[in-house]
């Protein structure tokens, strides 16, 4: 496998990792108002994603993989709403610990990272194609 192909493979792994990240962010944003169904229950807990580098044995390239998808243990929000079906005995409803602003910044970061990897593929491809063009 040529170095260019390795570069493209590594960039692809980066794009796939960002795909997973986008999925988790979408999940968080969509569930930003998902509350508990029974009184005093827990609402949706924000999920986090972490990346790790991994050696690809076939090509000897250091690719990126999704480490694990964990949960954010920061405290839930509370709102006084005694009429709500999920309200506890004091009349409080727990709100998910998703902050739309943070999710948006994360989303933008994922987008930028995806674009950077895309650019690497584009450049590697153009370099190979231009080299082949020398023969023409």
């Amino acid at each position: 496998m040529s170095e260019f192909q390795k570069a493209m493979q590594i960039a692809t792994s980066g794009m796939i990792a960002q795909n997973v990240r986008i999925r988790v962010i979408a999940q968080n944003i969509a569930n930003a108002e998902s509350l508990a169904t029974e009184p005093g229950g827990k609402p949706y807990q924000r999920q986090t994603v972490s990346f790790k580098s991994a050696m690809d044995r076939a090509s000897g390239a250091e690719v990126v993989k999704v480490g694990n998808i964990g949960v954010d243990r920061s405290p839930f929000g509370r709102q006084f709403d005694p009429g709500h079906p999920a309200a506890d005995e004091n009349g409080y409803v727990l709100l998910p610990n998703v902050k739309p602003l943070i999710e948006m910044v994360d989303l933008r970061q994922a987008q930028r990272s995806y674009e950077a990897n895309l650019r690497v593929i584009d450049v590697a491809r153009t370099m190979v194609a231009r080299t082949i063009d020398l023969l023409r």
């Binding site: 496998m1 040529s2 260019f4 192909q5 493209m8 493979q9 960039a11 692809t12 794009m15 796939i16 795909n19 593929i121 491809r125 190979v128 194609a129 080299t131 082949i132 063009d133 023969l135 023409r136």
Partner: protein, 102 residues
């Protein structure tokens, strides 16, 4: 694609040197003859093309990531371009010899 593109280029350089040497039997030169060269780069391109096909099919099934498909197709395309470029050069060198006044 196990053999890299630079191998194909090296093979092409060998082929050109062989043509330039003139009168030398191709079978005696190291690195195989012209048929082997064409066969090996053709096989490489075929392999890359097959992989691209596989990835496309599994993407239709929803199993492969679109990024993987694009990379596989780009690899196949580059391999094919290499084969075509090398072939064109070798054929034009051959035609050049045919045009030689006797």
């Amino acid at each position: 694609m196990t053999t890299s593109m630079s191998t194909a280029i090296n093979a092409y350089v060998d082929a050109v040197q062989r043509v330039g040497a003139g009168g030398e039997s191709p079978a005696k030169t190291p690195g195989g003859n012209f048929a082997d060269l064409v066969k090996s780069i053709g096989e490489n391109a075929l392999e890359a093309g097959n992989k691209a096909d596989q990835m496309t099919l599994s993407a239709i099934d929803g199993q492969a990531n679109i990024a993987e498909v694009v990379t596989a197709v780009a690899n196949a395309e580059l391999a094919l371009q290499t084969v075509v470029a090398v072939r064109d050069q070798v054929v034009s060198a051959y035609q050049e010899i045919l045009r030689m006044p006797i």
